[in-house]
């Protein structure tokens, strides 16, 4: 991993394999490449560590309820009262290390009386990772000053004065130390020895969006299932709306007493926590549930949850047609009946090539990144694939006089063009197109083009769309 630093790419972290080949943090990438040409370098994005540490921290919750993140590369676990469950500190630590190492992480850890001492030993200790209660100060003495979590400036100064190890200055008068190195050194010393307090900020795990409803008696009727669904929806939507979230995908599961699992799924075009709407979506599918002997447990899950746009929070919505929520809910209902893949919404895309100039929107909220172009006329109905036509056309670049499409002959009365559109050479090679807007004797307008230059030997003509 490397990140730019004063105009050069500097290594921020290196794998063990790389370290064995002489690559280390702080080196310049160009130098490293000289040593190891096959080195793979990834961009180190700031903040990347936080989610990773968070995830590992959450995983660690199985060992203790109190886990805190210690940026940039550490986790602090309060293990008080937990280790005996694993059969002692040694086994406890071994278990954590072994498991994390199996995942592929390179881990060092230590258990000690104070956060400071554990921090120091886990990074600089060379004897034992487990410091017996009361021994932490002795363990610190031989460690370098850097083990105290100090600023680089203080460390350089300590180094210059020859105070390399903690024991060389730990007994100095506090006033002498404070005058020269400031309060920070004393604070860190205290934290390591246990004379100072250090407060942990434990991480809070996110609970999955899932609600359970066991039934006293097996449920076998549709109204019964509906009641269960409604109850679950109430609880879930309540929580969602408190957190400002909405559901995009929902799964309703029923565990039958014969062990069989029945489930129905819904999706929405727009994140929603509207109980009635979601209920109506599920309701369309409830008839597919076969309760057989009865369902004893209902679970409602929301595997896909999104922030609900703030505008929805207005108390009432007066505008009729512009009510996005209403449209979204209508669409959800239609899609629930005919299948979501039959409904498309198109947005303009920044391409000249007509086939690529539109794209399918992924959701109802997706805003077009650019405006629809108005300076160039485009047909209302664009054929997905241009269809070849027969034409009679005068040279060089006049519009056709007539063309035959699907067996019908069209006399061209009016025409405009040509508009020349080149291939997007980075995507595809081929001939350019000369487009014409033409109008036939009935006033119907078409979008035709010639593929290739007019004096090329083989040019073909196509129809690509219909104007309104």
């Amino acid at each position: 991993m490397a990140a730019p630093e004063r105009g050069r790419m500097v290594i921020k972290a290196a794998s063990i394999t790389a370290q064995n080949k002489g690559i280390d943090t702080g080196m310049v990438v160009a130098d490293c490449r000289a040593i190891l040409p096959e080195l793979k370098v990834f961009d180190d994005e700031p903040g990347q560590m936080v989610p990773l540490l968070n995830a590992i921290g959450e995983w660690c919750l199985r060992y203790t309820p109190i886990v805190a993140i210690d940026l940039p590369e550490g986790l602090i676990l309060d293990v008080s009262g937990c280790t005996h469950l694993w059969g002692g500190e040694k086994e406890y630590l071994k278990d954590i290390l072994n498991r994390l190492r199996t995942f592929g992480y390179d881990i060092r850890a230590s258990i000690a009386d104070t956060i400071g001492a554990a921090w120091a030993v886990s990074r600089f200790g060379q004897v034992s990772p487990i410091i017996e209660p009361g021994n932490h100060i002795a363990a610190l003495l031989q460690l370098p000053a850097a083990a105290l979590r100090l600023d680089a400036a203080i460390l350089t100064r300590l180094d210059k004065l020859g105070l390399y190890q903690i024991n060389s200055f730990i007994k100095m008068p506090r006033t002498a130390l404070r005058r020269r190195f400031g309060q920070e050194l004393l604070n860190r010393l205290d934290q390591a020895t246990g004379q100072g307090i250090e407060i942990l900020e434990p991480i809070q795990p996110v609970l999955p969006y899932q609600e359970r409803l066991p039934s006293l008696e097996p449920i076998r009727t549709a109204p019964g299932i509906e009641i269960a669904l409604r109850r679950l929806l109430e609880v879930l939507c309540n929580r969602l709306s408190k957190e400002g979230k909405g559901l995009r995908k929902g799964i309703f599961k029923g565990y039958r007493i014969d062990g069989h699992l029945e489930q129905i799924e819904i999706g929405t075009n727009k994140a929603s926590n509207n109980i009635e709407h979601l209920f109506s979506l599920f309701k369309l599918k409830i008839e597919t549930i076969t309760p057989a002997l009865g369902i004893e447990l209902f679970i409602l899950e929301a595997p896909l949850v999104e922030e609900v746009p703030a505008e929805q929070e207005s108390l009432w919505n007066i505008s009729g047609s512009g009510d996005e929520t209403a449209i979204a809910e209508l669409l959800d209902r239609i899609a629930g009946k005919v299948g979501s893949e039959t409904i498309h919404r198109y947005l303009p895309a920044e391409h000249y090539w007509p086939e690529r100039s539109i794209k399918i929107a992924s959701s109802l909220q997706e805003k077009p990144l650019i405006d629809w172009r108005v300076d160039q006329r485009r047909p209302v109905n664009l054929l997905r694939k241009p269809e070849e036509i027969e034409v009679s056309v005068p040279l060089p670049d006049y519009p056709p006089l007539l063309f035959r499409y699907k067996g019908i002959l069209h006399q061209i009365k009016k025409a405009d063009g040509p508009e020349r559109i080149e291939q997007e050479w980075w995507l595809q090679q081929g001939l350019h197109r000369d487009y014409y807007q033409v109008e036939d004797e009935y006033g119907v307008r078409y979008w035709l083009f010639r593929s290739g230059h007019y004096n090329d030997e083989e040019t073909k003509w196509f129809i690509h769309g219909f104007f309104a």
Partner: protein
């Protein structure tokens, strides 16, 4: 009815135009155009190139430009006369000067003021609005322009297949009638042929900082902006034939050609109403009497008369007077300067004091450099002390005024690395792939494309995306990227400079330069004077000052150079040249004992011989053999004897190679010059073989051996980029001699001057100090009570003065603060708080402690730092002056610092140590490894196996040495040069690149005094250095590598001989050859 293209954007509109001006002209000529306008945006930078290209093809260009205004639609401007051209240039100058470099801010009002005699075309918006009409704003602008510019205004119309072309033309025609502004056809050319559209798209991406995939509508919709045949243009505008006809109206009106620009020398260079020639004659004879006394020798007289008549014939008097004026200023301010270049080594220049190379002693003939046949303008570069050159430049600006003097531009071109980076990024390649590509340039050869060779990064020659990227990169290489400022080439004119060419602000404060580069101004016959900076002159000036203060000597360059001193040559022959000018590099040092120079001309040869040109042409070894009498001196023919006599039959100088082409192969002087000049150009276009054939055939026809002819050609090739003309070598040799003389007689003065001129040269302060010690100079450490900012010389105790190191050696100190320290010193400081009271900041005190500068008050660095760090809350007010000790602190005992720790800290603070050499601390361990001290190398016989170790000073892989790496290492006893051959280098790449302490096993190679160790095995012993302190860290402080070190491999690979470095269309003539510091 003909048509003239009036809207042409070349690549001098950076990142818009997709073709070189030359390409545009060639294509236009091919299509039968007779005249073409070049209209780059707010610049005239490309027109000279177009003009030169057009002249060759019997075409004409209309010098013009596109004016992008801040408050209105753009206009194309076509000056119809010389005066109008000057106004246009003045308009651009005004726009340039009022803003920062690279921008031009113009307003409508400016245009109106300068509009006389200029014809304009208004460029309408590219699209119509929703009502198929132009916006009212545009119509208003049209009306306003019509009112202001009258009938000189036209309305431009293009047909670029946008679909609504007919509607647009219809609307434009309407407007043209309504506002009485005639419509005129253009084609908005961006590239000479439609295939360039891809590159133009890429340029758009680079400009807009996007990739081709998300560039979208920022690209053009089609490829119609190419040069079209006249008939096609007539067809496209068949409904508006008048629009075509009017292009002729403008073309016919614009009769101004760049040829009619006339360069006139400034008036100020003559006095008392004399003509320049009279003035020059007067000054020359005055100078001759000063130099040679009342009786000027007859030979000199003849030479002067001959030169003066020549100068009169060529009308060069003004040029020499201009140079003389600048040199005179330098002299009057005591700024050391020296001229060089083809005309500098003339007797006239010697008399004028431009150069100190004595023409009587050194038989350089003026005629050799200047002749009627070679129609070259004279060329004199004047080097000044690098610290004071700015004074000279400001003098020129002040004397002639900013409107009459300007620095020539350099057009920076896109090279492989930049090109692949920009193009690759636009093509959406990842940063990682770009890194790999940019350094793999030399591998991606035609052989690679055919799949014959692989590449180390595993690039696939069948990957179409990669191939496309590489193709576009090839096209992009050589494009102008920005207008920089030439290192010191001045153009000075009589009238306003902006009448000739737009002026713009340079990046540096107080500098202005013109838009044209030196080839451009040369093509138009403007003359320039180069005012360059040379570090060694600063050093020599400082040495002269010190010599005056401590030895009472009054030295000048000419005085030292009066006679050849055998003692100095003796020193040079032993390669004892660390720190001197030019001949201090490893390559030079190993050449010196073989060459054993004993007269001035030998130094000239020495300077020229260790250059890529002679090395590539394989001229070095024959010369050495002949000089040492191991090979007979013979000449390929009698006619070449005259040319090659002074270099024992081996061509070493640029002029000689050219003369061989003329005499031996029957080239005309102009052809020979063209050959040298355009060597780089032809490389790119594959025409190099044609020239080679011409030369080889010509020489063989005259009876030379083919092998010899090929060798001459090869050398010529090398000279194309790295040649050293004899006249330059002579001027440099003079400085070589002066610096050697100083080092030989006053090593104390020389070392102090050198240290005070840092950074310069090849070596670090540590080596300079060690070398001075070796020569018997006592070095005293930096101390708060004795040192000044600069390094000082102290009372003479033995042979030489002692050198007191100055505060400038300590990292992170500021000069003003140390001046305060020195001026408040009085009888000396006795405690740290007294320094504090003198106004020295805490950080500075800490730095001084780091530099161990408190010894005179009995504190070592650790103790001093302990005291300093407690000063933050020192007693103030009535307690001022008392020590900061609080009683309970006195007991504190800091750990004692070992000598090796001190050395490490010395290096980290001052990059040198007087206490001991770092390697001496690991000597015991090295002995156990059976490592020989470097000093013992001198007693080793040739061929014995040996193990040596030392700190790495320099690693070099010169392009001329086919992958061989040269390393210099140093231990407490001396230096050694290591040679690592290509394959071993790859094997030990890591050790060589990473080691601070390097141990090698190898074989001694001895040739007289020149000793190398040929490496077989490398070991990184840097971890040993860790033991020098108790701390666990590696000793980064002990990095001793010199400025010439080439650790980063990116560099080597481009210098690799395999590199087919694509050369651009116009390159600098001697990059690297001139502006030596």
């Amino acid at each position: 009815m003909s048509y003239t293209e009036l809207q042409v954007t070349t690549n001098f509109t950076f990142l818009r135009g997709g073709s070189h001006p030359e390409e545009m002209i060639e294509r236009a000529a091919g299509l039968g155009h007779r005249k073409i306008a070049i209209t780059d945006r707010n610049t005239l930078a490309g027109i000279v190139r177009a003009h030169v290209a057009a002249k060759k093809l019997n075409m004409q260009i209309i010098p013009s430009c596109r004016l992008d205004l801040l408050d209105g639609p753009s206009l194309l401007a076509y000056p119809t006369s010389r005066d109008a051209y000057s106004r246009l240039s003045g308009l651009l100058t005004e726009g340039n000067i009022r803003t920062e470099k690279g921008k031009c801010e113009l307003y409508k009002a400016d245009v109106y003021r300068y509009a006389a005699g200029i014809k304009f075309i208004l460029i309408p918006p590219e699209t119509l609005n929703i009502h198929f009409d132009f916006e009212p704003e545009f119509k208003a602008a049209l009306q306003e322009y019509r009112n202001a510019l009258g009938t000189e205004l036209y309305l431009g119309a293009i047909r670029s297949y946008q679909g609504d072309d007919s509607k647009r033309l219809f609307r434009l025609n309407e407007l043209s009638i309504q506002y009485d502004v005639p419509m005129i056809a253009t084609n908005d050319i961006h590239y000479h042929e439609r295939e360039r559209r891809e590159l133009q798209d890429i340029l758009t991406c680079i400009r807009e900082k996007c990739t081709i995939y998300n560039a979208g509508f920022r690209l053009h919709q089609n490829a119609e902006r190419y040069l079209k045949p006249i008939t096609e243009m007539q067809r496209l505008f068949r409904l508006y034939p008048d629009a075509i006809a009017r292009t002729q109206e403008i073309a016919d009106a614009c009769r101004f050609s760049l040829d009619s620009l006339e360069y006139v020398y400034p008036k100020e260079i003559t006095s008392e109403g004399r003509t320049p020639q009279q003035e020059l004659v007067l000054l020359t004879w005055q100078g001759a009497q000063e130099r040679f006394g009342e009786n000027v020798p007859e030979r000199i007289k003849e030479a002067i008369i001959e030169e003066l008549t020549f100068m009169e014939r060529k009308n060069y008097a003004s040029y020499f007077l201009t140079v003389y004026d600048i040199v005179r200023f330098g002299r009057s301010r005591n700024i050391l300067c020296q001229g060089r270049g083809s005309a500098a080594n003339s007797v006239v220049c010697y008399c004028l004091g431009v150069t100190s190379v004595d023409p009587t002693k050194f038989k350089l003939l003026f005629a050799r450099f200047m002749s009627d046949a070679r129609d070259e303008p004279p060329d004199i570069d004047v080097d000044f002390e690098h610290e004071r050159r700015e004074e000279v430049m400001q003098y020129i600006y002040n004397k002639y005024g900013r409107d009459r003097a300007g620095i020539v531009a350099t057009v920076t071109q896109v090279h492989w690395k930049g090109a692949i980076r920009d193009v690759g990024k636009a093509m959406g390649l990842s940063v990682d792939a770009l890194d790999k590509l940019s350094k793999s340039g030399y591998e991606l050869t035609p052989e690679w494309l055919e799949g014959l060779t692989g590449s180390s990064e595993g690039f696939d020659p069948k990957d179409p995306h990669l191939i496309k990227t590489l193709q576009l990169t090839q096209q992009y290489i050589g494009f102008p990227r920005q207008l920089g400022q030439h290192t010191g080439g001045f153009v000075i004119t009589r009238g306003k400079l902006s009448d000739l060419c737009p002026i713009l602000n340079a990046r540096m404060e107080n500098r202005t330069n013109i838009e044209w580069n030196k080839d451009d101004i040369e093509a138009l016959g403007f003359l320039k004077v180069d005012v360059l900076a040379l570090g060694m002159l600063t050093c020599i000036r400082k040495a002269f000052d010190l010599a005056k203060a401590h030895y009472g000597l009054d030295l000048t360059l000419a005085k030292i150079n009066e006679k050849d001193d055998p003692k100095v040559y003796e020193m040079i022959s032993h390669a004892d040249t660390l720190g001197v000018f030019q001949i201090e590099s490893r390559a030079q040092m190993s050449m010196l004992p073989r060459l054993r120079p004993n007269k001035f001309y030998d130094l000239v040869i020495e300077v020229a011989i260790v250059r890529p040109g002679p090395i590539q042409g394989d001229m070095v070894h024959p010369y050495l053999r002949r000089r040492n009498g191991e090979e007979p001196v013979e000449y390929p023919s009698e006619e070449l004897k005259g040319i090659l006599g002074r270099t024992l039959g081996v061509p070493l100088f640029q002029e000689q190679a050219m003369e061989i082409a003329i005499v031996g192969a029957g080239f005309t002087p102009a052809e020979a010059d063209g050959l040298r000049r355009s060597m780089a150009t032809f490389k790119a276009k594959g025409l190099v073989t044609q020239y080679e054939k011409k030369l080889v055939d010509g020489m063989m026809a005259k009876g030379y051996k083919e092998e010899y002819a090929r060798r001459v050609f090869k050398q010529l090739e090398g000279f194309g980029s790295y040649g050293f003309p004899e006249s330059h070598a002579a001027s440099f040799a003079l400085l070589v001699y002066v610096s050697c003389w100083l080092k030989c007689y006053y090593p104390d003065v020389f070392a102090a001057a050198l240290l005070n001129s840092m950074p310069m040269g090849f070596y670090q302060p540590a080596q300079i100090v060690i070398d001075a010690k070796k020569h018997g100079v006592q070095i005293n450490p930096i101390d708060i009570n004795y040192s000044a900012w600069d390094n000082l010389l102290e009372g003479k105790n033995e042979k030489y003065c002692a050198l007191r190191l100055g505060f400038r050696q300590i990292k992170g100190l500021k000069e003003e603060e140390m001046q305060t320290l020195v001026s408040a010193r009085g009888k000396g400081y006795s405690s740290i708080p007294s320094l504090m009271e003198a106004g020295i900041s805490l950080t500075a005190l800490e730095r001084l402690a780091d530099g161990d500068a408190f010894r005179s008050i009995g504190m070592d660095r650790r103790k001093a730092l302990w005291e300093v760090s407690a000063l933050a809350d020192r007693p103030i007010g009535m307690f001022e002056g008392q020590t900061a000790h609080s009683p309970e602190e006195s007991e504190i005992q800091l750990p004692e610092m070992s000598l090796s720790e001190h050395v490490v800290q010395d290096y980290s603070s001052t990059a040198l140590s007087l206490k001991a050499h770092p390697v001496s601390f690991v000597r015991e361990k090295l002995q156990m490894l059976r490592v020989t001290p470097l000093a013992s190398l001198a007693h080793c016989t040739d061929g014995i196996p040996i193990k040596v170790a030392g700190l790495v000073l320099v690693r070099q892989r010169p392009g001329t040495a086919s992958g061989v790496c040269f390393i210099t290492i140093e231990d407490e006893t001396g230096f050694a040069n290591l040679v690592v051959f290509g394959k071993l280098f790859d094997k030990f790449r890591k050790e060589i690149n990473r080691s601070r302490l390097l141990m090698v096993e190898g074989k001694v190679q001895r040739e007289g005094e020149v000793i190398h160790v040929v490496v077989r095995h490398c070991h990184d012993l840097s971890p040993l250095l860790r033991d020098m302190t108790q701390s666990d860290q590696e000793q980064t402080a002990l990095i001793t590598s010199s400025r010439a070190d080439e650790k980063d491999t990116d560099n080597y690979q481009n210098k690799d001989h395999r590199v087919k470095q694509p050369k651009a269309v116009q390159v600098e003539l001697f990059p690297g050859g001139r502006n030596f510091k």
